[in-house]
Amino acid sequence: MNALFVICGLGIISLIAEIANFRKWLISIIVLGLLGAAALVVADWNTAVAYYHDMLVFDNFSLAFTGLIIGSSLLWFWTASDFFEALFHKTDKSALILFAIAGGVLMTSFNNMAMLFLGIEILSISLYVLAGSRKEDLGSNEAAFKYFLMGSFATGFLLFGITLVYGATGTFQINTIANYVLTHAGELPSFFYAGALLMLIGLAFKISAVPFHFWAPDVYEGSPTAVTGFMSTVVKIAAIASFFKIFATCFSTIAPVWYTILLVIMVLTLVIANITAVYQNSVKRMLAYSSVGHVGYILLAFLADHKESDGTIFFYLAAYAVSSLAAFGALILVGGKEENTLVERFNGLFKRNPIVAVGLTIALLSLAGIPPLPGFFGKYLVFAMAINNGMIPYVIVAIVTSLIGVYYYFRVIIAMYFKDAVAEPLKVSTSKEVLIVVLILITLALGIFPDFLIQLL
């Protein structure tokens, strides 16, 4: 909770930075503040306090995901520092990002549907604006508009679902709903199930699972690369956390109702996202599809055992977030001002700048799930859980799709090492080189000693 206060406070400080004229210090203040927030998360560990009549509960699950969100945001601020330097409205952008982070924290810690709704909206509205922050670029406009449209469309479904669930159970508190469902099994009105399914659809939009993913590639491609990096890490973590929380607590007892539907969604997500990714010429769009594909693996873990999968999902997301941030960081550097991320742009990157090339290679290998990188352990834990639960056919599907994944990630790697360079050497600031080394070290550490993180939950 204290972390949430700090993040909101930082957002307000950003807003007044323009008036009070301390823009220069703003990023340093934000980074220090986020570090403080992370420290507060650590201090709150193992406390599980409820706030505001149980509307927010900061138990270890929320704290772990909050910590992950804050950690990813810190690294994101480092990767995206040019995003704040390049254009004006620096303070507005940082305020929007901070409020989006606050929304994300709400999405991990809500205990009341109203807080879930508010969290999603705080996060989304900030991002609608950020997605369109390249105002002159039609692609960015289009991304903002599509994101807005699909976001509010999904919110409509989610709200209708919440309303029906409320009508059936008489409460918005998720633990009360869970109890009610447990004690009144068999006498729930049919519209309760309709409500649960509508919420499933609404949240499937938010986590961008196939067939509710079609907005994601467009939005990811059109938005400024830095914002895309934010969406594919922080936003995804928050969305998955809220999805997990709703379905593992509220609707855990009516699992038979949504299980088959989610199973179909999972298989579709794995297959369609990974196959479509093969046909992309833009690396950014390819990463968008791959981030949709990763949701499929997370859903596989969730379906294998929705109660016990939190540790696995948490580790998978952490591994994914680090690798994804590294990949988007490299994308920002390679894309340059015009944000051109076609595969050809990566030709001969190893000759143009070996550090960026090696960093991107390790990130892509981790996303592809090659040991000893953390992506491998994430996939390993998911597969082991699924096999334990007798989901062998689905594991085979997942293994085949991850092989397809290796193919499209290697397309970029091949371009970097085999093709001749198209441009002169790529100059990168020292801060970015340090960042790449830090990200590589974090990736390797997560890969070789994965137990530390998984043990948290």
Binding site: E308, G311, P371, I387, L403, Y417, P450, D451
Partner: protein, 539 residues
């Protein structure tokens, strides 16, 4: 010190690789020096191991510490250990690796392009190779096994010949497919095996320990790979499938016909030192994995599919030899002869007799030495003329006497002439496969008879090559400078002569190494036959 020798062997190159990363690019000599120092140091650490090794079926120099312990709630505990040790099979292979890596480093002196990157990758590969030979924990083994793939991929991809892109991707796809198959079995074993020591008081500890996996008692009942009640999937039960998946996974690496097609391409495109490592060490991981993992963990499946494995081995021997005979490129010829010789490993393993298994291990070491020498020979020629087509040369012996002498040694050793290491290995494999029918009924005698024709074929293609390239009147194809044809340099002597001596030594005095291997072969044979029978008795 004595207790950490294996860790020192693995981690010295890794530390050296990290140091190299921080050295500026222009210190080209420093990278070479660091790599050489690491290799020499590794030999110094290996010597006490060779001296201190006691011939028995037990693992020695074992190091054990916790690595990953994960409490997954109702899923039990995931436990992976840093567990390394050597026995009569792995120690000769580790020694071979260290020796060949030293020679490969010397051979890498001529690399000019991006020296820093090259030696960093070489050092990482070094660590991964040693690690996979000593790991006794499946997860640790898998990690090292996969970790070999990437340095190798980049070594071929960046420093390779004209078709390097095609060759490296083919290599990557084949080996990745193989490792995915192994991964599937690893997950299955992980869910099925419990640690008998740590699992107490209702706590279920899933172990990756290979030694636990070899004991049928440790399988949890009603799990997918439980020997008492394995699931039926399609034609076979799950354990048979698991064996087949492992077999295919390792056979790709071995490589076995028809999964061998990546090998000639990779060899032709790879630079000489990389070819040497690929042929001499990486192929051995395939045979090692079969004998270390597939056979002892799934003994009844190994017995059941013995004939199939043997036939594939004989097929590799014959098909590889025929292809070698038809090759126009010297390196391609040697690559196919590797396929042929690794077939003996399969045949020896399939026989499940002491002689056969000892012969298979001996063949791995012997082929490691000989193939390293042959690829260096091809490299010597390629360095001078940038041409490896056999028909473009004739009568080289008149210009390169000493080189021709060493080529004779290499070719004769590879043919399996008496007095060379290959002879001992192949004779033992023949004995094993011949005796197999009488002792355990796995293989038919005819297989041994057919396999002997491989010897005749290999004599044919080597002698034919000798006659075409080295004897007769001196003649070169028009566009090759005859001035370039000069005899060996001192660096080349340093590389070739020790290998020739090793091939001779192991041919004339096989006893020391056989003493080392024999307890392992006895142990594995007994284990496979006893457990195989026990498991088939209670279906």
């Amino acid at each position: 010190m004595q207790h950490y020798l294996i860790s020192l062997l693995i981690f010295t190159p890794l530390v050296a690789a990290c140091i190299c990363l921080f050295l500026p690019k222009k210190f080209e000599k420093a990278f070479r020096a660091v790599a050489l120092i690491v290799n020499v140091q590794q030999i110094l650490w290996l010597l006490p191991m060779l001296v201190g090794f006691r011939a028995s079926g037990m693992f020695q120099f074992v190091e054990r510490s916790n690595w990953i312990t994960l409490n997954l709630g109702s899923w039990g505990v995931l436990k992976a250990e840093y567990l390394v040790g050597v026995d009569g099979m792995s120690l000769p292979l580790v020694a071979l690796s260290v020796f060949v890596l030293l020679i490969a480093t010397i051979s890498s002196w001529s690399i000019q392009k991006n020296v820093k990157g090259y030696f960093v990758l070489l050092l990482i590969l070094n660590a991964a190779v040693i690690g996979s030979f000593v790991a006794l924990d499946f997860l640790l083994f898998y990690l090292f096994f996969e970790f070999m793939l990437l340095p190798m991929f980049f070594l071929i991809a960046i420093w390779g010949g004209p078709r390097r892109e095609y060759a490296s991707i083919k290599f990557l796809l084949y080996t990745l497919l193989g490792s995915i198959l192994i991964l599937v079995v690893m997950i299955g074993l992980y869910t099925s095996v419990s640690d008998p020591v740590a699992s107490q008081g209702g706590l279920l500890v899933h172990s990756f320990n290979l030694l636990h996996m070899m004991e049928p008692m440790n399988f949890i009942s009603n799990t997918i790979l439980d020997p008492n009640n394995p699931w039926q999937i399609g034609w076979f039960n799950a354990r048979y499938w698991a064996f087949l998946l492992l077999f295919i996974g390792f056979a790709i690496k071995l490589p076995m016909v028809p999964l061998h097609t990546w090998l000639p391409d990779a060899h032709v495109e790879a630079p000489t030192p990389v070819s040497v490592i690929l042929a001499a060490i990486l192929l051995k991981i395939g045979g090692y994995g079969l004998l270390r993992i597939a056979y002892p963990i799934f003994p009844e499946a190994a017995m059941h599919f013995g004939m199939f494995v043997g036939i594939m081995g004989v097929l590799s021997i014959i098909y590889g030899a025929l292809n070698a005979m038809a090759s126009k490129d010297l390196k391609r010829l040697i690559a196919y002869s590797s396929v042929s010789h690794m077939g003996f490993v399969l045949l020896g393993a399939a026989s499940v007799t002491e002689e056969g298994i000892a012969g298979a291990v001996y063949q791995m070491v012997s082929h490691g030495i000989i193939s390293a020498m042959l690829f260096l020979i091809a490299g010597v020629l390629y360095d001078r003329t940038h041409d490896r087509i056999i028909d473009h040369y004739s009568g080289l012996s008149s210009k390169m006497q000493n080189f021709t002498a060493l080529v004779l040694v290499g070719f004769f050793a590879s043919m399996g002439l008496p007095g060379f290491s290959g002879f001992i290995a192949e004779v033992m494999v023949f004995l094993g496969s011949f005796r197999s029918n009488a002792t355990n009924g796995v293989l038919h005698e005819s297989l041994a008879v057919i396999a002997t024709s491989g010897l005749i074929l290999s004599a044919a293609y080597y002698l034919w090559t000798l006659q075409r390239m080295f004897f007769g009147p001196f003649h070169l194809k028009a566009n090759i400078e005859s001035d370039a044809i000069v005899d060996l340099t001192s660096r080349e002597y340093v590389m070739l002569v020790p290998l020739a001596i090793a091939a001779l030594c192991f041919g004339i005095f096989p006893q020391p190494m056989l003493d080392m291997i024999d307890p392992f072969a006895k142990y594995l044979t007994a284990l496979v036959i006893d457990h195989g029978k026990a498991i088939t008795l209670n279906p």
